[in-house]
Symmetry: C2
Subunit: 595 residues, 2 copies
């Protein structure tokens, strides 16, 4: 099937004189997750991970993806003839270097500029230029061969009220405009859906797991235009936006409008967050101020209303997770599959008010599946959970009170001492980060080692970041805050941890073919004491569900670490138990006991 599709694409390439064609993962908004309509890279390769770029030449095909997806991609690419390029591994050529090598003199590079990020496109233009090759960015070749391509959802947009957002759109617009002024920009164009949803306090349902609406926002100091498909907008929203001086125009009209832009000297945009057609369509007279969207940092710093809501969301999610754990621990004899686990968890969530949907495809991975970092059980892969082993559950939900992301690994039956040692090391890393105190000015790049240290001291590691920012009823992955020691791109400075930022703390350990362990909490950064040394910062743990004590070797922990785990479990018990049945409560007491 995949080879057929690649064959058809090569035909189209030949017709256009294109020698190298690139299929990225994104939609027109550089989204990490995309709706079915935009899954061109998946359609062409069979690889379902959220990140990856496919390159097709007349003779070869290659897929670039990162460490999270090495195992999954290897399996899914089997038999397709597509070669896997493991990004970041030694000897693996970079995407642009490969493209450049494959572009013969006078060759032609092709891609659909609407789904290719501007920053990436500039690198391709450079590579092609150095080869004397041509670039063709207006052809959606995959679209031409894609039969029965899914459409774009048409659900209505809804307004998120101030009791959830904590800040009105008027104020948010004013803050963004102040930053535009500071940057010396007359205008600002945004394509990133989460920024737009955050500024306008609107949510949609256009991407599974990300409640945003496909749209663009254009702003000046006095006006605004929201480019959106008219069928998803209600009268109420038109009126609300009109009161804020924001006009609504048809979604695709932005390309034409930007090409004909007049009266603008400097436009603020983030090349990493607009597609290349938007950037390259601008008149030459317009100067681009390339910096992060001001709203990126603003939305990462949660306000007091959002934080209070998030505590509620995590109480709800904690109840669902803890009830799942109770069920797993007390129903070991039943025939349960990975997908049953995911369904059970989501059923428990649905008992809570204001629950909307899962914030990403849940990972319920038994035994060896746990070692596939972003495994998601499909009908084919789904397996029965055995009696002895580790079950990794990484899942989250969207509530009106915010988005959650939790991972717990459950010990079912008996596991080896080695597995417990690794389970304990992962837990220690998680606690060492969560209970860290640090001076203001530190970034997640400085703190990452606190979490990895127990594993590094054992000469082990996990091949993913320690944590990512979490959106508020937006993408579960959000920047600029993160915990990671390796920067994903050269020249990108890690963000200083600010009070109000929410970041996950999710160390893991994976043994290919055997098992996987991960423990993930969400942390809010808060101000600690200020003294002669400076402003100390610390974290509050939002996530509320036990770390499975059946996996813990207390003697492998320091007394400090045991105190931290005990304090956390006390908090879990005290917060959740009032909402639980007596039987559950009795059980919870045991699983939150002092060690």
């Amino acid at each position: 099937m995949i080879t057929d599709r690649i064959g058809k694409l090569r035909q189209k390439m030949q017709e256009r004189g294109i020698t190298v064609y690139v299929v990225p993962s994104a939609d027109c908004h550089e989204s990490e997750y995309v709706c079915a309509h935009y899954r061109a890279r998946e359609y062409m390769s069979g690889f379902t991970g959220s990140a990856g770029t496919l390159v097709i030449t007349m003779r070869e095909a290659g897929l670039w993806t990162d460490g999270r997806y090495f195992l999954q991609a290897e399996q899914q690419l089997q038999g397709t003839g597509i070669r896997l390029f493991r990004m970041g591994e030694p000897e693996v050529p970079e995407l642009e270097a490969y493209v450049k090598e494959k572009l013969a003199e006078g060759g032609r590079l092709g891609f659909d500029g609407r789904v290719m990020g501007a920053f990436q496109a500039e690198r391709f233009f450079q590579a092609a230029g150095e080869r004397g090759a041509d670039v063709q960015m207006t052809e959606d070749l995959v679209g031409e061969i894609w039969e029965e391509r899914p459409g774009i959802p048409d659900k209505k947009v809804f307004l998120l009220e101030e009791c959830y957002t904590g800040e009105g759109t008027k104020k948010k617009l004013a803050r963004v405009r102040l930053e535009m002024e500071k940057a010396g920009a007359d205008a600002h164009v945004l394509a990133s859906l989460c920024d737009i949803a955050w500024i306008l306090n609107l949510r949609g349902d256009d991407i599974p797991g990300v409640p945003v609406v496909l749209s663009y926002l254009y702003m000046t100091q006095t006006s605004g235009i929201w480019y959106v498909r008219e069928q998803v907008v209600t009268e109420e929203i038109v009126k609300k936006l009109s009161n804020l001086g924001i006009e609504i125009r048809e979604y695709e009209k932005i390309y034409e409008d930007l090409e004909e832009l007049t009266g603008v000297q400097k436009i603020l945009l983030d090349k990493k967050n607009v597609n290349s057609r938007l950037l390259f369509g601008l008149p030459e007279s317009v100067q681009v101020i390339d910096q992060s969207n001001p709203s990126e940092l603003m939305k990462a710093v949660k306000n007091e209303t959002e934080l209070q809501n998030l505590r509620t969301a995590h109480l709800k999610e904690g109840l669902a997770f803890t009830r799942l754990m109770y069920w797993l621990k007390t129903h070991a004899e039943e025939e349960i599959t990975e997908r049953d686990v995911a369904e059970y968890l989501d059923t428990r969530r649905k008992e809570q008010v204001h629950y909307l949907e899962q914030s990403f495809a849940p990972i319920c991975a038994w035994g060896p599946h746990g070692a596939i970092v972003h495994y998601s059980a499909t009908e084919e892969s789904d397996i029965r959970i055995g009696t002895d082993g580790l079950l990794l559950v990484d899942a989250g939900g969207h509530y009106l009170e915010g988005t959650t992301d939790t991972t717990r690994t459950y010990v079912l039956g008996s596991v080896s001492e080695e597995q417990k040692r690794m389970f304990t090391a992962v837990c220690r890393g998680n606690l060492n980060l969560a209970f860290a105190k640090f001076l203001y000015g530190c970034t997640g790049s400085h703190l990452d080692i606190l979490c990895r240290k127990p594993l590094w001291q054992m000469e082990a590691d996990y091949k993913h970041g320690t944590g990512h920012g979490v959106g508020y009823l937006l993408n579960v992955h959000e920047g600029p805050n993160a915990f990671r020691w390796k920067q994903p791109e050269a020249g990108v400075q890690p963000a200083v941890l600010e009070a109000g930022m929410v970041t996950t703390d999710e160390p893991g350990f994976y043994l290919e073919g055997k098992y996987g362990i991960r423990t993930e909490n969400e942390l809010v950064c808060k101000k600690g004491i200020q003294n002669v040394y400076g402003q100390f910062m610390e974290f509050e743990i939002l996530t509320l569900t036990p770390v499975d004590l059946d996996g813990i070797l207390p003697e492998e922990m320091t007394s400090q670490e045991r105190d931290w785990l005990n304090a956390y479990h006390r908090q879990v018990y005290e917060t959740l138990s009032p909402y639980m049945e007596e039987e559950e409560r009795q059980w919870l007491r045991i699983y939150t006991r002092k060690i």
Copy 2:
């Protein structure tokens, strides 16, 4: 006295129409330590620290220095009318911002371009330009008013043999030329004395504590010119260099030669390591490739010969330090002053062969003096060591086998539990860094938190970096490796820790007016195991002298930390004891006992 000198300088400024005059700390080579001749900033301000910049206007005078010197500068500036600007503290204006503010329209900024770094000068040019002010960089006004200015030393240069350097000059020149080629440079000019001494395998005695020779080196792919004062060069060296194709010219001739440079299109130089007269004197046709001197990284990575020699140097230094500790611990009743301690230590060093000189002015600081991070006892400040308290000794030596830098804090008599708690926290930080395992690619910015963590968890800190690179019979402070979480300058990327780099590990705790604690070892970075996770790296501790167990509270340490300290003390005992007298050995056994 200081106010007189400033008065005289203002007269000179008035004569030249200069409204703001800047006096930096450096010599013509951007050296950290300078010989007496170049101590213009000290002459004008009375401040003796190694880092600081003095700015004089017709009405004001200000000194900028960093956290290491806040206390010392405050004391030394008393009564001078010079205001202290604590760099990095909130609300403290940056040097350039202050200069800009003080430069009125049409004003004139002055400095001696030979002692002003090119990178810094460019920032001043920009500040002046924005004010429409003029810059005058050829006037050494301090030189004009400085009566009885010391001369430059005239000692002979000596050759460091290959049994010490491990690599001949020919090979070093070839490695530098390869990097010049990679950078696309026809020529390369170096002013940094340590780089020049390292490449040429020559040492001198022109700066107290730094055995280098004032000179410049100019290189092309085929030729070289060493600009040096002829009276310090021997026939042997002239011959050796001539065999390597290196011509010798008079020291100051470089300015003229560079101004008249022909046949060179691109010159490699490090703007942070050449003075501004050299940079601004280049013909406009020459393009500057501004990057670190290739020799900076090369000399930071010690070769096997150097490492083997360093182990010998640290054995010698360890014997001297341990004998000092023995004397302090067994002669408590004697009347000892801080300067007696420094002298005793140096006398013990002089018993060792191949000892040359101290690698920096030793810090022997009793009680409250210990809180002055870079205290150095003068005749006036010298105090008697009391019966109960902490004595901080930070000292090092130059041996033919390399340079050392050690700090120990000794408990004399009885100290408070609080002091022991802080002493233990400092020791824990030191051990956590020294015994860390980490993946290749980490920088000192990632590892710094391991050392600070025990203090940060107590909401305390030390206001200096955790560690610096150490030269081999060169400057005791060497880049690019360092342990620090705050980068000293924006845009400077921390260096990846490479096998062979030597870096100090020196956490501390300081309570102003009370006491200071610091424990410093030197660590060599080494390769650990390579496995599926990557290349693990670790350290070997070079420094060999006990951490005073009288300050340690074992119950405040984890069992892992106690194991580490015990392993270190076992190594200290095993390495030093064969060289000690029976009485000393008995005593050492107690001070390296298992806790």
